[in-house]
């Protein structure tokens, strides 16, 4: 049956490994689908949700995406070259927190300097020469750089030198990225890091955009493309400076959509992430793996335990949780491919009710997980006497840890809980947090709220 085609909107929430699509008409759900991207591509999944609903046309499509995060674990930069003021070539590297042990954002062989200087009052102390710019272009071509970031000191006070180099580079067909001159932050490195990340994410981001565009082209009005949501509430398509910020687009949509639920924090229990959002608080910076990055977003606290945090023997030779999640490649053991037990494995039986997981549950994987837990239990200093007790105790420890994290991170005793895993975890959290008021929202809410135009 063909439905009326007016005011039908599609909202997509694209994570690193899962995607959600929500089709709505006048705030009513027409169809909802969540799928694993390793099995079904973004394009196929989008096509499926539209075909299954019998929709011929949609008015608008909105996207919030955490997909670019997937490439953070790899060396960033790619073919991105960075130009700095001469004398300050490795300044951003000098400011990278040692404890984080991340690789530098820019590759050393793609780091170039320009003999220019603008003082803090905006006066130009040295202008870049034409010959130096010409030499620079030759060097960039030799290195096959495609994207170039210009990071000149005090360029926000007077961008003349920056613009001169930028113009020459654009004429030479480079894609040029400059830091946000209107940002409230003046710390150069926080702005430069964002600029490099925007440039580095460009390739992956454009691929996702094109995949979504090709899936939606037959359904959207001519010339209309899906609008991506940034962490500060801007809908964008081609604007490169919002790309990094799109990682927090979902958080913005949830905070805006739920702001009428007075004074509540949002506990997001998604398949890939557990976090606590404070909708009424804005963070100006993101504490990234490379240090502070200027990025306006809803205050977001990642819980210390995540769905794919691994279970291991801790310092005390007891069963405990590691510090890092492993993600879904290969993922928890109960999904068949994982080799390490994870937090979500402890909820394997209940996961059968979760869209996106139910289709992938592997009974041999569940057994393998149990065997591994039994083996790990035997290796502890004080083993439990039965498999059931091991699993029950680990679940209890996980919930207790999550609860402690919520208490220490939230100023609020009212929590709105959303995400695919909310129905599994929230009731158990509520049992411990008796003085908290926890409201569980429908699983469709994560993507539904993204589609609500502000």
């Amino acid at each position: 049956m063909a439905l009326a085609e007016s005011d039908v909107t599609l909202a997509l929430y694209v994570g690193e490994s899962f995607a959600e699509a929500h089709l709505a008409q006048q705030r009513k759900t027409l169809n909802f689908h969540r799928w694993y991207l390793g099995k079904e591509s973004l394009r196929v999944g989008i096509g499926k949700v539209l075909q299954d609903s019998g929709i011929q046309k949609i008015t608008k499509a909105f996207v919030a995406s955490r997909f670019p995060e997937k490439i953070f674990s790899y060396r960033m930069g790619g073919s991105v070259a960075v130009l700095t003021t001469k004398g300050f070539e490795n300044w951003p590297r000098s400011r990278q927190p040692a404890a984080l042990k991340s690789l530098p954002l820019s590759a050393a062989d793609l780091l170039f300097s320009v003999d220019e200087r603008v003082l803090s009052d905006g006066s130009i102390s040295k202008e870049p020469s034409e010959s130096e710019i010409t030499d620079l272009i030759d060097k960039l071509k030799l290195k096959q750089a495609k994207r170039v970031c210009i990071h000149f000191l005090n360029a926000r006070s007077n961008p003349a030198n920056q613009e001169k180099v930028k113009t020459a580079l654009i004429q030479a067909s480079f894609e040029v990225f400059t830091p946000d001159a209107t940002a409230s932050e003046t710390d150069e490195v926080a702005l430069w890091r964002k600029n490099i990340l925007n440039a580095s994410l460009s390739g992956t981001f454009e691929e996702i955009q094109e995949e979504i565009h090709s899936a939606l082209q037959p359904y959207l009005p001519d010339g209309t493309r899906a609008a991506f949501l940034s962490g500060d509430g801007h809908f964008f398509d081609k604007e490169v400076h919002h790309r990094l910020s799109s990682l927090w687009g979902g958080a913005y949509a949830w905070a805006q959509g739920l702001k009428n639920e007075s004074h509540s924090d949002i506990l997001y229990l998604g398949l890939e992430q557990f976090c606590l959002l404070s909708p009424e608080k804005i963070a100006l910076n993101w504490e990234s793996p490379w240090g502070k990055v200027f990025n306006t977003q809803v205050q977001n606290h990642m819980l210390s335990l995540q769905p794919t945090t691994t279970i291991e023997l801790n310092l005390w030779n007891e069963l405990g949780f590691s510090k890092k999640p492993v993600g879904y490649e290969p993922g928890p053991m109960f999904l068949g491919r994982g080799q390490s037990p994870t937090l979500l494995d402890l909820w394997a039986s209940e996961s059968a009710a979760v869209k996106g997981l139910s289709e992938r549950i592997s009974p041999p994987g569940i057994q393998k997980f149990k065997n591994q837990m039994v083996a790990l239990n035997r290796a502890t200093t004080s083993p439990f006497d039965s498999e059931e007790r091991v699993l029950a105790r680990m679940r209890q420890n996980a919930i207790k840890n999550i609860c402690a994290d919520i208490i220490t991170s939230s100023d609020n005793k009212r929590l709105l809980c959303l995400g695919a895993l909310a129905p599994l975890f929230a009731p158990e959290i509520q049992k411990h947090l008796k003085k908290f008021e926890i409201k569980i929202l429908p699983e469709t809410e994560t993507s539904f709220l993204i589609g609500q135009e502000k």
Binding site: G87, F88, E89, N90, W91, R93, S94, R95, Q96, P97, A98, L119, S120, S125, L153, N154, R156, T186, D187, E188, V189, A190, G291, S304, N314, L315, W316, E318, G320, N397, K400, N401, C403, A404, D405, I407, T408, S409, H432, L433, K434, K435, F436
Partner: protein
């Protein structure tokens, strides 16, 4: 209860703090963290002293920055607040929170001339802020501007932390019995001793001459997982002085780095180290000796001596690195004061050149840093007259590290004179700079191994 629970809980509870500790009412540190690692063991002295002299109830707050009672720099203030009743059935827990306010580079002949020194003093009791005491502190001639308001803001933060702790108690099991604490600390001690035992045992010696004239001598013994640092033969302080707890903390910091003991920072873990010093030496300075210079150059000397001695015992071919750190204070007209700290080893995480140039009349000319080689060169020009004060942890005398290490190049601070020649300055001092004069800092913190690059 899982053994990791006290650590997990403390780490969540103190997640947003840079320097803090949870201490039992017996003065045992259960969990400590600090951006200045050597500070961690000092929390014990603060609690022990405070509980001996002042009766405290949950929510009462003490304030101190006294270097002779577990404190370090005078601009780093510790707030102490019981989270639970100290005489209850479960063991009482005390929160120590250390925060920095208005750092200055003051060196003098007496500690009370270096800044406002506050012995443990109640500032909130029975839910009432003791305003007259805070007022009296703020009237002290060396009290930094805005101190009173800063204390009030900190009190609010502490009250919030108390309410969070109470919420943890209401919702989850957070009380620890004395027996549980004993077991927890015994594990930490054993864990550290086992890790130390994994490497070679033996004895090492080192000696360091400081630019201020003191001589530090160390005999280090590692046996059966216990580390004994004996500073016998170390001279009395001339201009460099550090307290007992700081000396211990500096030794432990090196041990923790060397044996990878960073996971546990509690009294049990610290007990794998024993430190002895002769009475009257500069490593167990007593009131009223000044400590500001010692906290930089004295701590660095202790750390270097420990590092060199440990490497004689464990034939470790890793690169030997020192902080090689300098603090510079520039005073311009209209009370503008810029204090900066530069280090060869550490990164300049929170430095913004644009912000500094927008706030102070300086122009940066060059910054080069090689993290791997621990080498930093900073060059900048002053645009207005200023008074310059500096203090460093390096010596202008070449160091003689044990084989197989080559001495690192000597770190330097220099000014550019009228003839455009660089003039070397001593490792600490004061000077006036005219507009247009440049300052260059060259720091080296890396000892290479002969034949290894």
């Amino acid at each position: 209860m899982q053994s990791s629970w006290p650590c997990d809980l403390a780490s969540l509870f103190l997640d947003k703090e840079t320097s803090a500790a949870l201490v039992s009412n017996e003065g045992e540190i259960l969990y400590a963290k600090s951006n200045l690692e050597f500070e961690c063991p000092g929390f014990q002295s603060i609690v022990e002293y405070s509980l001996k002299h002042i009766a405290l109830k949950p929510g009462d707050i003490l304030l101190t920055n006294d270097p002779y009672m577990g404190g370090t720099y005078l601009h780093r203030y510790t707030y102490l607040m019981p989270l639970t009743a100290l005489a209850s059935q479960a063991s009482g827990i005390i929160l120590c929170l250390r925060r920095e306010f208005s750092p200055r580079l003051n060196t003098a002949n007496k500690i009370d001339e270096e800044g406002l020194r506050i012995p443990p003093t109640p500032i909130l009791q029975d839910k009432n802020i003791i305003t007259p005491i805070i007022e009296a502190m703020s009237l002290h001639p060396l009290c930094p501007e805005g101190f009173k308001d800063w204390i009030y803001r900190s009190i609010q933060d502490l009250q919030k932390l108390l309410s969070t702790w109470q919420s943890l108690e209401e919702n989850l099991q957070v009380q620890l019995s004395a027996a549980q604490i004993k077991k927890f600390l015994a594990f930490s001690r054993k864990y550290n001793m086992d890790k130390i035992s994994e490497k070679t045992q033996g004895e090492g010696r080192s000696e360091i001459q400081l630019d201020t004239g003191e001589v530090l001598k160390l005999r280090l013994e590692v046996r059966d997982g216990l580390v004994k640092a004996d500073f016998g033969g170390t001279s009395a302080g001339i201009k460099t002085n550090i307290s007992d707890s700081t000396t211990f903390g500096a030794c432990y910091e090196v041990l923790s780095d060397f044996y990878n003991l960073k996971l546990l920072k509690d009294s049990g873990a610290f007990s794998a180290l024993q430190v002895t010093k002769p009475t009257g030496c500069f490593l167990n300075a007593k009131f009223p000796l000044p400590t500001n210079r010692g906290l930089q150059s004295g701590v660095a000397a202790v750390k270097l001596a420990m590092n060199m001695a440990l490497r004689q015992i464990v034939k470790n071919q890793d690169f030997l690195k020192t902080e090689s750190d300098i603090r510079i204070e520039m005073a311009f007209s209209k009370g503008r004061r810029w204090l900066s700290e530069w280090s060869a080893k550490s990164v300049c995480e929170s430095f913004s050149l644009q912000k500094i140039e927008a706030t102070y009349p300086v122009e940066f000319l060059r910054i080069e840093k090689n993290i791997e080689k621990s080498h930093l060169v900073v060059e900048f020009k002053v645009l207005e007259p200023c008074q310059l004060k500096w203090n460093s942890d390096f010596s202008i005398h070449p160091l003689k590290p044990p084989m197989p290490w080559k001495p690192a190049p000597i770190s330097q601070i220099e000014t550019l004179d009228k003839n455009q020649e660089w003039i070397k300055l001593p490792s600490y001092g004061a000077s006036d700079l005219a507009p247009g004069m440049s300052l260059r800092i060259q720091l080296w913190g890396h000892f290479e191994v002969f034949g290894k690059t």
